[in-house]
Amino acid sequence: MEADEIKTKIQELRKLHKLSQEELANAVGVTRQTITSLECEKYTASLVLAYKIATQFGLTIEEVFDFSNVEELGL
């Protein structure tokens, strides 16, 4: 796994909050495709988007995104 592939709990949290991808996308100001890519870990969110998503779920960025991969690589 590469350093820029960040695991996320977006799908899990979205289902917990009963939000569709479209609804979450509209709430954080991106397209539905971006949410899909984030959930599939094909795309890494910018700091601003990560903050918006975390705020949407009432959590911190570290609680939504798993940075252990980056820490393992010592980056």
Binding site: A25, N26, G29, V30, T31, Q33, T34, S37, Y43, A45, S46, L49
Partner: protein, 224 residues
């Protein structure tokens, strides 16, 4: 969103102007083609292309205008349009596609220019000018991006140095093409100041490069 609404409004007006221009050129082209019995094949082809191109521009502008008007009438559609245009993943894809594509175009043009130099002088000069234009556009975008994302004096100096160097070299190259290739005799009142300006720009570029490397070294020392 208010600022984006204004942008969409401006875009709609621009689209309307393009439609008017496109239709005007299209009508002119049709009238010209109807009365062009004695015109040569090449002239007809050029006029046909021009007419078609402007009709295409007008059609695209109509599509854009309709989209803008719909967005201006409905707040939800305006928000959707804003999201579509500002989606960070879409912007990243556009950047990743644009950069390498431009590089391929530049190398392709350079090869074509080289090839044309063995075949035809007119084609060679045309391709050379296109290549220079593409290089200038690429440089302008690189400089703009570097200036936007840099606050260091050293980096800024380096950017200006690059601009000066390229403009200086281009001026020198143009002077050479005009005098040696096109064999146009320029009076000393023209070529001496132009050559001096080109030389000055290149010297200034070298001075700025030295200065920026010193500034960068100082910045590195400060950080240690």
């Amino acid at each position: 969103m208010t600022e984006f609404r204004k942008t969409v409004q401006r875009r709609a007006w621009f689209g309307a102007a393009l439609v008017l221009l496109g239709v005007a050129v299209f009508v002119w082209g049709i009238l010209w083609l109807e009365n062009a019995d004695e015109a040569g094949h090449a002239e007809g082809l050029i006029m046909g292309f021009r007419t078609g191109a402007f009709l295409g521009i007008a059609a695209v502008a109509v599509g854009g205008m309709i989209r803008c008007i719909h967005a201006l009438r409905d707040e939800e559609k305006l928000k959707k349009l804003y999201i579509e245009e500002h989606d960070e993943r879409a912007l990243l894809i556009a950047q990743l596609a644009g950069g390498p594509a431009m590089t391929v175009v530049m190398y392709g043009l350079a090869l074509a220019t080289l090839g044309a130099s063995f075949v035809d002088m007119t084609v060679f000069l045309t391709l050379l000018l296109v290549l220079l234009f593409v290089l200038l556009v690429k440089l302008a975008f690189c400089v703009a991006a570097n200036l936007r994302y840099s606050d260091e004096a050293g980096t800024r100096s380096l950017m200006f140095a690059k601009i000066l160097a390229v403009v200086g070299l281009l001026t020198a190259a143009t002077l050479e093409i005009v005098t040696l290739v096109l064999e146009i005799e320029l009076s000393s009142i023209v070529w001496i100041p132009v050559a001096a300006a080109a030389l000055l720009m290149i010297i200034a570029a070298i001075v700025l490069i030295v200065r920026s490397s010193k500034l960068n070294k100082e910045n590195q020392t400060d950080g240690e």
